[in-house]
């Protein structure tokens, strides 16, 4: 036990607060309060120290990028290097994990899986596990990569709630699915906390350091005319001293400008731009520096949308990129040619061309073939030929429409008249020839047929017309209409007209057969009496 009296103390917080302080200190040192610190308390040594740290950070970052790209190339994922970098940058800003940790993790998983999609999925899972369990990302990533390769021991040691039985029986996909379900959103939730926000600020500070370091390296390389950074230490120290003095001067000038009435609200770059004459020079320098940076970004294919606008054809880097692009294009053409051998569509066109086709179809097929081959000259040729053929077709259609519109009458009308005569003379009915000698009957028959009636209906009509004419005393009936036998039970066409026989049935009629018998008897008696009556349904119906 000892007695202690604190005369003066400073609140520094507990562990979490200490992390916050560390991160905030970093940020204060590196970014936001840089200008303030320069103007107030920091000296040349601080600037020099910061510059060195920034250059080191930029160099380390570049080295890490190259190592990752090389590792991806070695496992056959070279084309995914750019997407891997962008994915890492996204994770960095989203979850507040620095790229110095993410790149080795990505590399480890990529080497294990050899697949970009799986790598990114597992890295996301690793972040969740790391955030939830508190274990560092490299341990989690190592465990996952080992588990992917079949060694589940490290995964069991993570203490993520996977039993030994599960590890033995379940597949890696099943285990990772279970883990993803269990720890879903842990990293995002962690990033949303205060500590996560501080981590994000820490990431931003680290990025600021890298960016500034990159700028210093570029500037020094330009100044020294050397392409390496190995001999730049002396230049860097001299430049840092000079820069520190200049920045300190800027701080004083900015403070003075802010005191001028009316422009006190200016901040950041606006203050520099407000400096007479010098401000415009600085702005020009800023634009030149920014353009140089963008040229490099485009050359590195970080910003392909802007390609062309910032490309400087005189730079060796750009020329190299263009040559590589040409190589890729040539390779693509070769590949397309090889593919054409097995192109089913082309085969079908060839087969169609060998068949019997019209000239227009042939030209169309040739045009399709040219389009498939991407042969521009042939496409032009066949397009012209097709246009000519289509023009000819249109001309022919116009000519035909003119011909159809001419009223030349029916050239076979004389034949129709002759056939009418034949129809009048001979009518085929059930294999028998019937000669119509009555003019009225002939005309009625012809009119009925012309009106669309069936032959039986027309003949019936003709017969009634002849009978009506005879009843009315109209001449022209030169013979007697023969009764045309009807087939089956059809109607009253076969019945004779005007004979009525009344008979009285003696006794009782109970069934239909009794009635039929009575009628037959009456008809027979009538026949015996000399009346020639045909047997027909009409007669029966009348009797009824």
């Amino acid at each position: 036990m000892s007695i202690i009296i604190d005369v003066a103390a400073e609140f520094t917080g507990k562990k979490a607060f200490k992390q916050a302080e560390t991160a905030t200190d970093k940020l204060t040192k590196s970014a936001k309060s840089l200008g303030k610190a320069l103007g107030v308390s920091l000296g040349t040594a601080a600037i020099l120290g910061y510059a060195k740290a920034s250059v080191k950070a930029a160099a380390d970052d570049q080295k890490a990028q190259k190592q990752l790209a090389l590792a991806l190339k070695n496992v056959g994922l070279e084309r995914d290097a750019a997407s891997a970098e962008s994915y890492i940058q996204r994770l960095q800003s989203e979850f507040g994990v620095v790229d110095d940790l993410l790149r080795p993790a990505y590399q480890q998983l990529a080497v294990a899986t050899g697949d970009t999609a799986k790598t990114q999925k597992l890295l996301g899972l690793a972040l969740d596990l790391s955030a939830s369990t508190g274990k560092d990302l490299s341990s989690v990533t190592g465990a996952l990569s080992k588990a992917y390769l079949g060694n589940n021991t490290a995964l069991a040691k993570l203490g993520v709630g996977i039993s030994k039985a599960d590890l033995k029986t379940k597949s890696f996909e099943e285990i990772t699915s279970q883990l993803a379900k269990t720890f879903k959103g842990a990293a995002a939730e962690s990033a949303a906390t205060f500590a996560g926000s501080i981590a994000k600020l820490g990431v931003a500070a680290a990025n600021v350091k890298e960016i500034i370091g990159k700028g210093i390296i570029d500037a020094l390389v330009v100044l020294s005319g050397d392409k390496t950074v190995s001999n730049l230490a002396t230049d860097m120290e001299n430049l840092a001293t000079y820069t520190a003095d200049v920045i300190r001067g800027f701080g004083l000038m900015a403070a003075a400008i802010q005191k001028i009435p009316g422009i006190g609200g200016l901040t950041g770059a606006n203050i520099v731009q407000a400096i007479p004459i010098l401000g415009s020079y600085i702005t020009l320098l800023n634009q030149a520096g920014a353009k140089t940076r963008r040229i490099e970004e485009v050359a590195n294919q970080k910003n392909p949308i802007q390609s062309g606008s910032y490309l400087n054809k005189t730079t060796a880097t750009t020329t190299k990129s263009q040559k590589e692009l040409l190589k890729v294009t040539a390779a693509q053409l070769k590949l397309a040619k090889a593919k054409s051998i097995f192109d089913l569509q082309k085969i079908q066109i060839e087969a169609a061309l060998k068949g019997k086709i019209s000239e227009e179809d042939r030209i169309r097929l040739k045009l399709m073939q040219a389009i498939q081959d991407e042969n521009i000259s042939q496409i032009d040729t066949y397009t012209k030929a097709l246009s000519e053929v289509q023009a000819k077709v249109i001309t022919l259609q116009a000519t035909l429409s003119e011909v159809y519109s001419m009223d030349v009458g029916n050239p076979f009308i004389a034949w129709e008249i002759g056939l009418d005569g034949v129809k009048r003379a001979l009518i085929e009915v059930g294999g028998q020839s019937i000669e119509l000698t009555n003019t009225i009957a002939q005309n009625s028959l012809a009119a009925g047929l012309a009106g669309g009636a069936s032959f039986a209906q027309a003949l019936s009509g003709a017969r009634y017309a002849a009978q009506a004419a005879a009843a009315a005393g109209i001449s022209g009936a030169t013979g007697v209409m023969p009764q045309v036998p009807t087939a089956g039970s059809g109607g009253t066409a076969g019945s004779t007209a005007g004979v009525t026989i009344n008979t009285t049935v003696q006794g009782s009629v109970i069934a239909q057969n009794d009635l039929n018998q009575a009628i037959n008897d009456a008809l027979a008696q009538s026949g015996w009496a000399g009346s020639a009556i045909g047997y027909s349904r009409q007669a029966v119906i009348t009797a009824i």
Binding site: M1, D6, V7, E10, T12, L42
Partner: protein, 173 residues
């Protein structure tokens, strides 16, 4: 209660990094402010003759209760100007006084909670210093000296820190 200071630790780091001379100067000035309290506190410790004979230090003692030795107790009263580790409430001390000997600490605080115990009564009957201070900051030696100092040491410490800060700004401007 200590005075809460902001940026003191950062100031010390900055001083050490950029102005080593000032970094050495500040602790000296703080020490100057604290030394009088220490001196007075040492004077409040009783000599070996004023202590209960059974509590007095002796050879071949095998017990666990710490025996009183006036010289050891005086050595135990001192000050520090280096920042401490954070305590359980997150505070780091920039300047502090302490009475680190066990027997000295016992003499400092005995009777605060159990004034009627036999040991306290016996010692009081022989020799007892005056309690000064309030609540937990109540004692016979260091607390008494600090209380009687009436904040002079505290003001001296703050003045030293402020002076170092101003000098640092001047040196780096």
């Amino acid at each position: 209660m200590p005075v809460s200071v902001k940026g003191g630790i950062e100031l010390r780091k900055a001083l050490r990094a950029y102005t080593p001379d000032l970094a050495k100067q500040m602790p000296k000035e703080i020490a100057t402010a604290l030394k009088p309290v220490v001196k007075v506190a040492k004077g409040y410790l009783p000599d070996n003759g004023s202590i209960l004979s059974g509590w007095r230090t002796r050879d071949n003692y095998t017990g666990r209760f710490p025996l009183y030795d006036a010289s050891a107790a005086k050595r135990g009263i001192s000050y520090k100007t280096t920042p401490s580790k954070p305590n359980n409430r997150g505070f780091r001390s920039l300047a502090r006084l302490f009475n680190k000997s066990a027997a000295g600490a016992i003499y400092e605080t005995m009777g605060r909670k159990t004034p009627s115990s036999q040991f306290v009564q016996n010692q009081n009957s022989k020799y007892a210093g005056e309690f000064k201070g309030q609540n937990k900051d109540r004692g016979r030696v260091l607390f008494r000296a600090y209380e009687e100092d009436r904040g002079a040491a505290r003001d001296g410490v703050l003045r030293a820190i402020e002076k170092a800060s101003k000098d640092f700004k001047k040196a780096t401007a």
